[in-house]
């Protein structure tokens, strides 16, 4: 009984270590594939950019627009109870959005929508032997399937992040103006946003954008079984991509605070 318990813990830990190194291997092959493209389908990066970017536009607009409104409403409400001075709401809100909130929120949304999509697509290709058929013809599945998604995801996460920042700030300004009569000129003050904030925000977007297809792609390519396996891979992709985004966000924030944002 006790032996079985420790054996199952051991198997779980070994599985985690194995998955970690397999994921690292996929990441390494992806980076190599970016610089040494072999047999990638023409126009695939553009097609993936459409899938990742255009198809996420409404999702990002609605979610981040609503979030911007709720955040500003709550902040203004609390400030009204204490000092009533709303002049710093806009500048601090914009700064927080640029370096912290928008990158992680955009990435988390893409982790659910795009990560699930990648894992489901690659998972179903794996269980229907399409990945074996690719290997049979000498095509590296990582090079052919993950690299275009990796490049497209980095570009579109950056674009969507910038777009999301505009949406969230405009939505916040609208809320501040309509509910608390904050002047737009007072809200739209960008002086607090430093180059360091901008750098950290863009770095996070690019890194998160790159991590999602690698993690989800690994989950898809390691799918076993039939449709049940695809479902499990999709769930794993969403959870693992979200956790990876959170960990990477924490690491980049810490590095940013110790370097380009130090003393701000």
């Amino acid at each position: 009984m006790i032996g079985n318990f420790f054996a199952s813990i051991g198997a779980f830990v070994l599985g985690l270590i194995e998955a970690f190194f397999a994921g690292l291997s996929i990441a390494g092959r992806t980076f190599r594939g970016v610089f040494h493209p072999r047999g990638r389908a023409r126009g695939e990066v553009l097609a993936q950019m459409y899938q990742i970017g255009n198809r996420s536009l409404l999702f990002v607009t609605v979610t981040l627009g609503a979030l911007g409104m709720v955040l500003v409403f709550q902040v203004c409400l609390q400030i009204n109870k204490i000092t009533g001075d709303q002049s710093q709401v806009g500048p601090e809100f914009i700064r927080g959005m640029v370096h912290a909130f928008v990158p992680i929120l955009t990435a988390m949304m893409l982790a659910t929508r795009v990560g699930a999509g990648i894992a489901a697509e690659l998972g179903s290709m794996t269980v229907t032997e399409q990945v074996d058929a690719l290997r049979m013809t000498g095509v590296d599945p990582v090079d052919y399937l993950i690299v275009p998604r990796f490049l497209a995801s980095i570009i579109m996460t950056l674009v969507l992040g910038i777009y999301a920042t505009v949406i969230v700030v405009v939505a916040g300004a609208l809320m501040a103006h309509t509910a608390f009569d904050v002047n737009y000129a007072v809200f739209f003050v960008f002086e607090k946003v430093t180059w360091g904030d901008l750098g950290v925000g863009l770095t996070k977007l690019a890194v998160h954008g790159g991590a999602i297809p690698i993690v989800s792609g690994y989950c898809g390519l390691s799918t076993t079984g039939g449709s049940e396996g695809v479902g499990t891979a999709t769930t794993r992709a969403v959870i693992n991509s979200s956790l990876t985004v959170i960990i990477l966000d924490f690491v980049i924030s810490a590095i940013g605070l110790m370097t380009v944002q130090a003393g701000v």
Binding site: T128, Q130, D132, A133, M136, V139, T224
Partner: protein
Amino acid sequence: MIRCDGLGLTLSHRPVLNDLSWELAPGSVWGIIGPPASGKSVLAKTLCGLFTPQQGTLHVDGVEMTRLPEPERVTVRRKMGMLFQNNALFDFLRVWENVAFPLARQDPSLSREALAARAGERLRAVGLAGSEEKWPSELSGGMKKRVGIARATICNAPVLIYDEPTAGLDPVTTSKIYDLLTDLRTRHASTVIAISSDIPALRRFVDHILFLHQGQVRYRGPEAGLEACEDPVVYQFVRGLGEGPL
């Protein structure tokens, strides 16, 4: 052409192939049969280097495959064409693009027009002229098999592996598929390995049989000698008896 010595493969802590030895002469036609989950498809994929056995050696055209790194296996795989059990047609490519896919990888200098022409020829050969621009989802089961066969054979590889070429097809389509395979085999003198659960149809097509049960060889020899095999598993399976060790 292909020689396996003591092949052993374990997948997910379960032994799938066990001390398997087998030799295929060039131009021979082998059928692999056996009960479900006996390791037939895994053996086919192992021969292509899609699985790496933990024990034994595998020589394809004199090259030892088991210790070759993946990029070098590609060179050996170019000598093989495979029809997968699930057809494995790329659902993001049109029919002609599916057929031309291995050719485009083998000879990147071929233009799109040349690839389309070669794929069109091959599709005509399998009786699918006019289906070039269709998507795999628009095809019936039999048509998908034919597209899979066209893709497996477009490079005229010296070794052809057909995994369940007639699974789920009606007797007429089954007969047409085997006629097509026989025609391709006669024209290109390839070494052929076919896996099928339709034993009577398969036996008409092959010269030799390899019988697998739980990853072990129970019979290996001429097709005509299968009836005389006294192994109880083979005896029961070949005659379709309800009583026996299976």
